[in-house]
């Protein structure tokens, strides 16, 4: 039935969806002038929230890559005991409201829980609630499931026999992973990383509970909106979009291109 839809109708529907989705962005650009941006950033906190968000998200992303990549690989290769249980554990933070995640994180890094008491004993100014560490942890919890699930799917698309072949041809397992698995899974990994980056940059719910300070961009947008109104908040919203969006968009376009090349190869 869909095959009989005229081409102009399909184009029309696509255009409507596209316009509806992008209309808020267009509105944002029309509302924010260069002058208002400059005026907004000249006043405190200036660009500090941007740097805070970039630093925290970068560290969270690094932790995701270091911890999440091996986990995703093991899941994809079915090398874990009770893999469905592990997957369920990964999906839980994804399904929970971010505010609830924040409340639960208080048990992890706050004084209420055993873990929190241990880490705070090291240095409460570094590892407690409302620290940069807490911001990184909150962003990690909100964003990591997206990366791990995407990475698992990406690794699963790589035929494990290619890794075996690489090893039989003389490579150590780690080299085979680096030279064969990683390049072939790269498009999916890039998609996962870009989504995780966007989620980490925009993490708000959990951050609001455990890391109100130091304020990143989402918290600053919230406080600016409450204290100064929409026009001031829009400046930081634009900053957030500019910082968070290009990387995911580029990664998405690159991985889509790589996938189409791969599908051409498979069809050949």
């Amino acid at each position: 039935m869909l095959g009989r839809v005229p081409a102009f109708a399909a184009v029309g529907v696509s255009a409507v969806v596209w316009i509806v989705l992008l209309a808020p962005f267009a509105e944002l650009l029309s509302q924010v002038s260069f002058h208002s941006i400059r005026q907004g950033l000249d006043q405190p906190p200036g660009l500090a929230p941007l740097w805070t968000s970039l630093e925290a998200s970068s560290i969270a992303l690094g932790a995701m890559i270091v911890l999440g990549t091996p986990l995703a690989y093991l899941l994809a290769r079915n090398r874990l005991k009770a893999p469905r249980l592990v997957e369920a554990g990964i999906v839980v933070p994804l399904l929970m409201p971010p505010l609830v995640i924040g409340l639960l994180l208080i048990f992890l890094i706050g004084q209420a829980g055993p873990v929190g008491r241990v880490v705070q004993n090291i240095d409460p100014n570094v590892f407690g609630v409302n620290t940069f560490f807490a911001l990184v942890v909150a962003e990690f919890f909100e964003a990591a499931p997206y990366f791990i699930l995407a990475a698992t799917a990406a690794f699963a698309t790589v035929d494990s026999r290619l890794e075996h072949d690489a090893q039989l041809l003389g490579d150590r397992p780690l080299n085979a992973f680096r030279k064969v698995t990683l390049p072939l899974a790269a498009p999916g990994l890039a998609t996962g990383l870009s989504i995780a980056w966007a989620r980490a940059m925009g993490a708000f719910g959990a951050v609001l509970i455990v890391a109100y300070n130091p304020a990143g961009l989402p918290i600053t947008i919230d406080t600016s909106f409450i204290a100064f109104g929409l026009s001031r908040a829009l400046v930081f919203a634009l900053l957030l979009i500019v910082a968070a969006l290009p990387l995911p968009l580029l990664a998405f376009l690159w991985s889509a291109r790589a996938r189409s090349r791969r599908s051409v190869q498979m069809a050949a």
Binding site: A166, G170, D171, R172, R262, Q265, A268
Partner: protein, 387 residues
């Protein structure tokens, strides 16, 4: 019954057929080529698959080539994967050049055999040190590397790459990416990649499936030459009997995870151990000639007669008739059957016992769909049921 305890029963050899291999009643057979030197590859394992277990006992001397022949899904590739060590067996182990390349985790066998002087269990050799080269289906080419980089993979130098590519006929596409190649070219890339490195065992999984028929024999010669030069062993997985015959010193017939018969290439076709093996080898019609024997026809080995609608037909003269069961058994003296290329016939005076429903008159010309004895399967009732 464990693999090691597999019972052998007399096959056609005991029935007076010299040199044939026997099929085990437990469905297990062992390579029977007399090993003139030390054993290079020795495998004795059970791999669990979803629908059935794959059992194999394989023993190959340096320079020996074995074809694993059977239908799709019979377990041929699983045997190959177990030998390569990419699939872990439930029981048993595989050794290449005396070194453990695959073993069941915690099996009593590996504990006993693998005990080192220090009392610690022997671990399988790392994949990169096994000296095993594998050629799989076309998908095993590294899709993100050019032809040259695929072949040079793991070599550390590209000195011999051009020469190897020339041997397999890919010298003009060295810098091409795999997505630009045909299926046959990708198989050649895999082949070149395997041949570029020294190996002790070459495992080939349908390596010619996408290659044109005219090039197959040429590539087969290249492989055979490489195996001979390196004094290695080679295993070929195929469902093409002709290919299996052309490649292997011996053919192992794999059926539902069992090596049901291992024999020299020609002998396997002439004397299949069971009706199942005969059927896999191309025999199409099975005729009861007594309570415990059957005769079968092979379409490739006879000249079509005057009744093509009845299949391949030989004519003969009824020599004698005897009552047998509900029908009659008669001996038929075969008429002259001329020999031509690829057509093997027995003596024109061969006596053919045939079971018929109505008694034919002695001395009349009779048309039968039967063959002369040296070319047919002789199967006992028990084996037939098992097959």
């Amino acid at each position: 019954m464990s693999v090691a305890e597999g019972t052998r029963v007399p096959g056609p050899e005991s029935a007076g057929v010299p040199g044939s291999e026997c099929a085990a009643r437990a469905g297990i057979a062992r390579t029977g080529q007399p090993a003139t030197g030390p054993t290079l590859l020795e495998g004795d394992f059970v791999v669990t698959r979803r629908s059935f277990d794959v059992m194999a006992q394989i023993s190959l001397a340096p320079g020996q080539r074995l074809s694993l022949f059977g239908t799709s899904g019979a377990g041929k590739t699983t045997i190959l994967e177990a030998i390569a060590g990419t699939v872990t067996p439930r029981r048993g182990e595989v050794r290449l050049d005396g070194r453990l390349v695959n073993a069941a985790p915690g099996s009593w066998r590996s504990r006993r055999r693998g005990a080192t002087p220090a009392g610690r269990r022997e671990q399988p050799v790392a994949m990169r040190h096994r000296g095993i080269a594998v050629v799989r289906q076309p998908t095993s080419v590294f899709p993100h590397l050019s032809v040259r980089k695929n072949v040079a993979y793991g070599l550390g130098h590209a000195r011999d790459v051009a020469a190897v590519l020339g041997v397999v006929g890919l010298d003009d596409v060295q810098e091409a990416m795999p997505e630009m190649l045909s299926g046959g070219q990708r198989q050649r890339v895999c082949l070149a990649r395997a041949l570029a490195r020294p190996f002790r065992a070459l495992l080939l999984d349908e390596p010619f499936s996408a290659i044109d028929v005219s090039s197959r024999s040429e590539l087969r010669d290249v492989i055979i030459d490489a195996v001979r030069r390196q004094d290695a062993v080679a295993l070929l997985v195929t469902h093409d009997l002709t290919e299996a015959q052309a490649f292997g010193h011996q053919i192992a017939v794999v059926d539902r995870g069992r090596l049901v018969q291992i024999a020299d290439a020609d002998l396997l076709v002439r004397q299949p151990a069971t009706t199942r093996v005969a059927s896999l080898c191309g025999y199409t019609s099975f005729l009861d000639c007594s309570a415990d024997r059957k005769w079968a026809l092979h379409p490739d080995r006879f000249i079509e007669g005057d009744h093509p609608d009845r299949g391949i037909v030989l004519s003969g003269t009824v020599a004698s008739v005897q009552a047998f069961g509900s029908g009659f058994a008669c001996d038929i003296i075969g008429a002259a059957v001329s020999s031509s290329a690829d057509v093997v016939t027995g003596s024109p005076r061969t006596r053919i016992p045939v079971h018929v429903d109505s008694p034919p008159e002695v001395g009349i010309e009779w048309v039968v769909t039967a063959v002369d004895p040296p070319l047919v399967s002789r199967v006992t009732g028990a084996e037939e049921q098992e097959g």
